[in-house]
């Protein structure tokens, strides 16, 4: 079964730039007030393009990637989790929330100094706790004005004008609210540009993920986590869209030259949901078996935007510009932004696990997988919703599945030794041994 072929491998040339973009994001948010700018906080899925209309000096802190960064710092994370528990928040709540609130309660920013309080909160609500996350933030940091858009209008396959109007109407209200709470005049041109940037960056990320259909895979998932995250920080920015274009070109070149993510690729896997962020070494452990995790619905579809191509395969969603659409006004921009996001793959399973299973089976087929690792993630009920149903669907489609329990952001609920032992058994069952 196992080929002994060895591929050439090398680090990404644009890796350093990704690190720089991420560092600038957290620094710019913290220092925004020093330059007379504004700070806002909201989730990674919020409509970040909309506050762009307030000016170029408006910086955000997206809560999930911030909390994931805390989780990777086990010592600080434990202090944050315990601070949230002391304040009365249950230990089985989303571990991103608990890490984030802990940082607020301790008044410590992961990158040093006090926690930079946002000027306003700009959130959306699909997961049952998204708006509630910031309700608690408002309890902990009173006086921050908050606005939240309800996007729970059902799956994209059932999207109609009434549902779209509901979301777009809230967006219009939100812009009026932004003008009122910031005292700034809203610039529709900046919104339009941000919408174009968001469509470009999220379609480019999907295109990059598509390049991983190649054998050998040019990227492995541990690296992809550090790259997709830029979309969770500011998918609406030109900086991220331009970076993803550069990355796409480099990854395409790797495919052409057969530059592999790991030299001994013999087995192709995918994962699911957020990984236990403090234990990403697990992905390196897989490599000892010649196994590469080529991605997941999570890394592909949390930010990436997809559509079915003419040959029936999954590919990057066609952007408005590629369709020849020039956005002329606010309403058109908001409508495109809403429709674009309501088609997000990772929003679909909130309505039915079968929609997620279909996408996972598609990935398993098109990315030529040998097996699947499912993280039963106690830290995120939203993305783990229906995951046991997904397991059954994958098995029915003929893909071997290994499950492991854990928590993306609370190391007390992850057992590294036990998970490695499961991987050993799974890989041996698939017929692979350590290199």
């Amino acid at each position: 079964m196992a080929s002994k072929q060895t591929y050439e491998t090398r680090p990404l040339e644009c890796w350093g730039k990704a690190k720089e973009i991420r560092e600038n994001f957290y620094r710019d948010y913290a220092q925004a007030h020093e330059k007379g700018g504004l700070r806002w906080a909201g989730g990674a899925w919020t409509f970040g393009a909309i506050p762009c209309g307030l000016g170029d000096d408006v910086y955000s802190l997206t809560s999930e990637p911030y909390a994931a960064s805390i989780a990777a710092d086990k010592k600080f994370s434990m202090r944050c989790l315990e601070a949230a528990e002391r304040a009365g928040y249950a230990r089985d709540l989303c571990s991103y929330m608990r890490n984030y609130w802990g940082s607020v309660i301790l008044d410590e920013y992961l990158w040093g100094g006090q926690f930079p309080k946002p000027d306003f909160i700009w959130q959306d609500h699909i997961c049952c706790s998204h708006a509630k996350w910031y309700q608690v933030v408002s309890d902990l940091e009173p006086g921050i004005p908050s606005f939240c858009i309800d996007v729970a209008v059902g799956p994209a396959i059932d999207l109609d004008d009434n549902k779209l109007d509901y979301v777009v109407g809230q967006m219009h209200d939100g812009i009026e609210w932004l003008e009122k709470v910031t005292g700034r005049r809203y610039d529709d041109e900046k919104l339009i540009q941000a919408v174009h940037n968001e469509c470009r960056s999220t379609a480019l990320w999907a295109e990059i993920c598509c390049l991983n259909k190649a054998v050998p895979a040019p990227l492995e998932e541990k690296t992809m986590f550090s790259l997709y995250v830029l979309g969770t920080l500011m998918k609406h920015s030109k900086v991220v869209a331009d970076y993803y274009q550069e990355l796409r070109d480099e990854v395409a070149e790797r495919v052409q030259q057969q530059i592999a993510a790991i030299p001994n690729e013999r087995c192709r896997l995918m994962s699911d949901t957020q990984p236990p962020w403090g234990f990403l070494g697990l992905f390196r452990y897989l490599e000892e078996y010649g196994a590469v995790s080529v991605g997941s619905l999570y890394t592909f579809g949390l930010i990436g935007m997809w559509e079915e191509m003419s040959d029936g395969s999954w590919g990057p969603r066609t952007t408005p510009r590629e369709k020849g659409i020039e956005i002329k006004d606010r309403d058109q921009a908001l409508r495109i932004l809403a429709e674009w996001n309501l088609n997000k793959p990772e929003w679909q399973h909130f309505y039915s696990p079968h929609l997620k299973t279909e996408m996972m089976v598609r990935i398993a087929k098109e990315w030529s997988l040998n097996g699947v690792l499912l993280h039963y993630n106690r830290g995120c009920e939203g993305l783990s919703l229906g995951i046991a149903e997904n397991r059954l669907g994958l098995i029915e489609a003929g893909y071997p599945v290994m499950t492991f329990e854990g928590n993306m952001g609370d190391e007390r609920e992850f057992d590294l030794a036990r998970t490695k032992a499961r991987i050993d058994t799974f890989m041996e069952t698939l017929g692979y041994s350590r290199s």
């Binding site: 249950a90 989303c94 509630k132």
Partner: protein, 108 residues
């Protein structure tokens, strides 16, 4: 439900106006005022706040609900259960909670 010319609109208004599930109770929490009104109207001395684990929206409101009740002088007992309910333990805790009120009567 208040009747309206458009019956569907009347049903929709009823859904929007009723006390919501905590998952839909944002950005301001309307449930807390409702709970405080109930407590005042029924002249309660204490409240038992029940929590089924892994129901995040309820868990997210628990600290705020307990704080609001206690600020109004209403004592709270927090009971948390999972797929199984620890009846024996709950009985002991509820008895202790009730005895606490009796003790206050004794020293009034």
């Amino acid at each position: 439900m208040k009747p309206r010319q458009d019956r569907l609109e009347a049903i929709a208004a009823r859904y929007i106006d009723r006390v919501p599930c905590p998952s839909k109770d944002w950005m301001e929490r309307t449930r807390i005022q409702h709970i405080l009104d109930l407590a005042r109207e029924w002249k309660v001395d204490g409240a038992i706040v029940m929590q089924q684990k892994f129901c995040d929206p309820h868990e997210l409101d628990t600290p705020a609900i307990r704080k609001a009740l206690e600020e109004e002088g209403i004592k709270t007992l927090f009971l948390e259960f999972d797929v199984t309910v620890p009846i024996g333990q709950f009985k002991v805790r509820v008895e202790a909670f009730l005895e606490m009120f009796a003790e206050e009567d004794l020293f009034d």
